[in-house]
Symmetry: C2
Subunit: 477 residues, 2 copies
């Protein structure tokens, strides 16, 4: 066992115990820690910095597509939550209740928002009057609370961070277009920023959002073959508009209900990032997301000129997020720590490198080492970071693609779910009874329904009735 | 009455009814609106954009001074809140209580954070071990809840937005230095970004933060002469450290308690911005803060080339936050709306301007109009925006300075507070009984204690006992 292995031995091997490996990374990379509040996590500086990068990237996409940020209250009066029947049925069992303010017992209880459709609807009912006010493309960044019985850092916590978009449109076509535009933005964020490939599809009736007509999802595959619902986009039709009386006068002066959408991406995406890219040395962060893209490690720091050259190198790389590790730890310790934190590129520079006018670049994704001339290094590093992104995305994509299976019948289906980590494609009659049988007997769930060819000669993998959908099934977080 | 006056007549004149004028601006500039939740406001897109600018500016200052963002839970268990005696006494009467989660009545009630000292302390107790771990310079951006009986948009709301910094240091000197560093950063933010001059000082024992040894404040003066506590920075000594057992081993391997600070700036700063800079036409935003710095209004839009020239002008100004108003409203309406929203600079461009190679610039702060050559306009606009900032700051500073009064005795003091809007400087024995007498008889409060010359021959303005402090007094929001 090498020295480096010894230093990181506290991390469980990924293939040995995936769940423990995940928890080890979360804690050892100092992403978050447990709090004195049941089910709530503390986002530590490094974890929060990753969330800041995700929010900055997606916020920019939202602004470029005409969305505006707002802030709604943290509380929802009980009567307001109850206005849309399906919505309240879905959320009431898992909310936190405020019953007292100061010394006063509240006449009406307040819910801590589990999601804010009802608040946005009440605001839209007050502020939308004419077709000129549409569309309203609002988003908020906040935390929400759902009273979870079992929790895991990032993946399922009582309080979590997210953005929730809530939009109102003149008609169905415009609202449907928005629903899909956002789904595409989520896929773009995952693939182009987080290097995580996703599959787009529609949720089943059972799995859709409480109050939505349709829910669309991007599903990612974790390293253990399980699915993570990575973000969702909901089309509401005019159901909420009717419950909340959100109307506008159209160009012909006729009163119409708006059509609405909502959509969300949460801090659970960080859990996905870990489980897609992490390895036995810790986190691996894709360069566009990494809070620190490059760490410069001066070798033989005490020798004259080394720290100066390291600083000069940092200056040359000022367009990137770069830091110098000139702490007094041994180089091996530093390397292990930077690898644990997933910093995409390490540049080592010592007296011999300086004499040769080079530094040694070490990629976190492959471990590959190469000498880089200091002359013109910024350009080469920019290329290298893009190469790292592409490689990480490609690697994850190949894993995703190589783990897609097709089940022609129930026996095959059960065998695949039990023995082949990954996604199983199977035809389905659309009946919730079959969906529940899958869950009860295999623990898999329908991840999404995908567009498909003509289904006229296809039959349900569970009951053999004529198929209505081609669905993707899998175990999920 | 001109057309423009008619369009904005719904705004109360500032000198007629300051309070109603304030509310009118908040609503008509669409900064926020009332929500279905008592005492909670909705930050609308324009109000939120201003808050985003404030947070971006201050977040950058914090990062440049080595601070790191984190996120603590929204909840505080009742037992945790109770660990520091003064702190719980100060906050317990005004918090919201969660007593039920899902179907479960909680064994221990949870408070919705009114401030997060207790959570940071619990985290520091777990994570700080050695002098190498210090200082910890943590900050979080979040909302907090204090159960207020009477509320006003931005100034006092049940839920409000803020940053709260919480730091831990090896010794008193380092913690005190941080307390003052942050106070200076707050003053810098107000003066250099918001064009609001402030007075720095220390709060009295009565007015200091619950649990602090000392509270420092930046106080701003509103247009009506009243004070606004604009931000505060607290020095805790080792009081919280002892209550929460936050220790570290120093370089000599001796166990020590940390020394701590906390400090906060909230969305109430937006209320200050309105009340310092607003006028009878609405908001006036300082250029470095304005979400839109420049609005381009094409005149005679239907004429060939006008919209193209407006777009070309926008391209030339791409380094600024600029938008074109090509809506179909009449120019006078547009002007009134841009003035209400406080956009610092309006550029009008029509066929005659284009022929002359100029546009017409109209300053929001002074109303002054000037022709600007399109050639080299970006440079001139950059200068002009700086001039607007300096003018707004200077104007507010002159008002602040011209309204400082000195009271030699109690009769003068009462007369000044009653009849001269502004701040009264008066010597004080430091006794809380005198402070309470001031409040009871004049409604003024001690705003802050300022550094002063030798006080040996000075006497308290209230009781004539020997003076301990020179304090600033005034009515406040």
């Amino acid at each position: 066992m090498s020295n480096k292995e010894k230093r990181v031995e506290a991390i469980t091997a990924r293939d040995e115990n995936f769940s423990q490996w995940y928890t080890d990374i979360v804690l050892k990379a100092e992403l978050c820690s447990y709090s004195p509040v049941r089910g709530c996590m503390i986002l530590r500086p490094y974890g929060y910095a990753i969330w800041e990068r995700i929010t900055a990237a997606f916020d920019q996409m939202l602004k470029e597509t005409g969305h505006e940020n707002v802030a709604m209250p943290l509380f929802i009066p009980e009567s307001l939550l109850q206005k849309e029947k399906d919505h309240v049925e879905g959320f009431a069992p898992e909310v936190a209740w405020v019953t007292q303010g100061g010394d006063e017992v509240l006449a009406e209880r307040l819910v801590i928002r589990p999601t804010s459709e009802t608040l946005f609807c009440a605001h839209y009912a007050e502020t939308i009057e004419s077709w000129r006010d549409l569309p309203k493309l609002y988003n908020q960044w906040c935390s929400v609370v759902r009273w979870e019985k079992t929790t895991r850092p990032f993946l399922r916590t009582t309080e979590f961070f997210w953005q929730e978009g809530h939009t109102a449109h003149a008609d169905e076509a415009d609202a449907r277009e928005e629903t899909m535009r956002i789904l595409d933005l989520y896929a773009k964020l995952y693939e182009e920023v987080m290097a995580v490939p996703v599959i787009k599809g529609r949720k089943s009736e059972k799995e859709k959002f409480a109050g939505a007509l349709e829910t669309y999802t991007v599903e990612a595959m974790m390293h253990d073959g399980k699915a993570l619902q990575a973000a969702t986009s909901h089309y509401f039709g005019d159901g909420f508009a009717k419950a909340f009386d959100i109307t506008y006068t159209d160009k012909d002066n006729v009163l119409q209900h708006v059509h609405q959408t909502s959509w969300g991406l949460s801090s659970r995406s960080i859990g996905g990032l870990i489980m897609v890219h992490g390895d036995d040395d810790g986190l691996r962060l894709p360069p566009r997301l990494a809070p620190v893209q490059i760490v410069i490690v001066p070798v033989a720091m005490h020798k004259e000129g080394v720290l100066d050259e390291a600083a000069a190198l940092k200056d040359k790389l000022s367009q990137f997020r770069v830091k110098i590790d000139d702490s007094d730890k041994m180089p091996g310790w530093k390397f292990a720590e930077h690898e644990m934190k997933g910093i995409p590129l390490r540049l080592e520079i010592g007296p011999r490198d300086i004499a040769k006018g080079v530094c040694l670049a070490v990629r976190r994704d492959t471990g590959e080492k190469q000498e880089l001339p200091l002359e013109g290094i910024a350009e080469r590093v920019a290329e290298l970071l893009d190469e790292i992104h592409e490689h990480m995305l490609q690697e994850a994509r190949e894993r995703l693609e190589s783990r897609q299976y097709e089940a022609a019948n129930w026996a095959e289906f059960c065998d695949l779910i039990a023995n082949k980590p990954g996604f199983v494609h199977a035809y389905w009659c659309g009946d919730v009874a079959c969906e529940e049988k899958v869950k009860d007997e295999t623990t898999a769930t329908s991840r999404c329904i995908i567009e498909s060819e003509d289904l006229s000669d296809k039959t349900c993998v569970v009951c053999d009735d004529p198929a209505k959908h081609l669905a993707i099934w899998g175990k999920a977080y």
